[in-house]
Point group: C2
Chain length 186, copies 2
């Protein structure tokens, strides 16, 4: 059976990643183009959950949202949930400057999906990808992809073909958890 | 006439600064100790306004909140509204590392007061202090005070006696605008 799920975001790059990943599960994604409101919190789960409820309060239909962040161990989790602000101010260049002379370069990319139904009950699905911060930017520019090398790889996320990146990505892991829950439920 | 105004924050240092400043205006501050919810936005005014409305929705009494941020010109406004997160992750040390070899060190400290009445109507008052980012941390630790030198001064905010700092501060300017409006109104 073919299923259609509504995804709220104003980020078109996210839409195409999510569509590509879910196409392998006979799920089509209907993009609801809106700026998802976000609360300030260190906790991605809390942010995504609050956003999903806020969106359903406005739209009155079941919808999922996705929030992700890069957590660098040596920087106490910075930039964490504040990806878009950090990207448009100090950018990847700023992150690399903060990492100068730092040997411990472990980082985790985390994706949180929050699906909220019309009764405003929200479920959370988390995916993580482990890796290190590269020494320089490499590959096409999107988010922190040019500075993140997944564990065991040599290329950054940004240097990989879309499908290879998606196969390793935090977003795919979160989406697959969501999809298997959703298929049992709906 | 002596006036009493309610101030919602979970930040005790802010309470003592605000009390010291308002004591010169025959105003006493009643501290409502709660964690003020904040939205994610680049715009302090929008954050403070939304917070004040949210707090009054919960407490059902007129209250003011205060939000502040340090905007560094060469870093495109970073760290801006995300002071507390940036302080507990990369801290002042991280900011100074980002500023290594940067000659343009201008920065603005901005304070926004949002006063919301019981009808959920919120008014905004803004104060700014101009200065530069120091080359190293100096003085007692609170927020970004150890790395901010106000225009025309040699000491950082953190090296100054409380009263001297308050006389120059963004927070005082915002509070004084608020107070003169409040006294005409109530």
């Amino acid at each position: 059976m073919h299923t259609k799920i509504k995804f709220a975001t104003s980020n078109f790059h996210k839409v195409s990643e999510v569509k590509e990943i879910l196409s392998h599960h006979s799920i089509s994604v209907e993009h609801i183009n809106l700026k998802v409101p976000e609360i300030q919190s260190d906790n991605l789960e809390e942010i995504a959950k609050a956003s999903s409820i806020e969106v359903v309060k406005r739209e009155h239909i079941p919808i999922f949202v996705e929030d992700s962040g890069l957590f660098i161990k040596n920087l106490n989790g910075f930039p964490g949930p504040y990806s878009s602000y950090v990207l448009k101010t100090i950018g990847n260049t700023g992150i690399l400057k903060l990492m100068i002379n730092i040997k411990e370069r472990e980082a985790t990319f985390k994706s949180v999906i929050a699906f909220c139904n019309e009764k405003l009950s929200s479920n959370i699905f988390v995916g993580e990808a482990y890796g290190i911060i590269s020494e320089e930017k490499r590959g096409k520019i999107w988010g922190f992809d040019p500075i993140f090398i997944p564990k065991g790889m040599k290329e950054t996320f940004a240097e990989m073909p879309v499908k290879k990146k998606n196969d390793l990505s935090h977003r795919k892991k979160a989406l697959e958890k969501f999809v298997s829950w959703y298929k049992n439920r709906y």
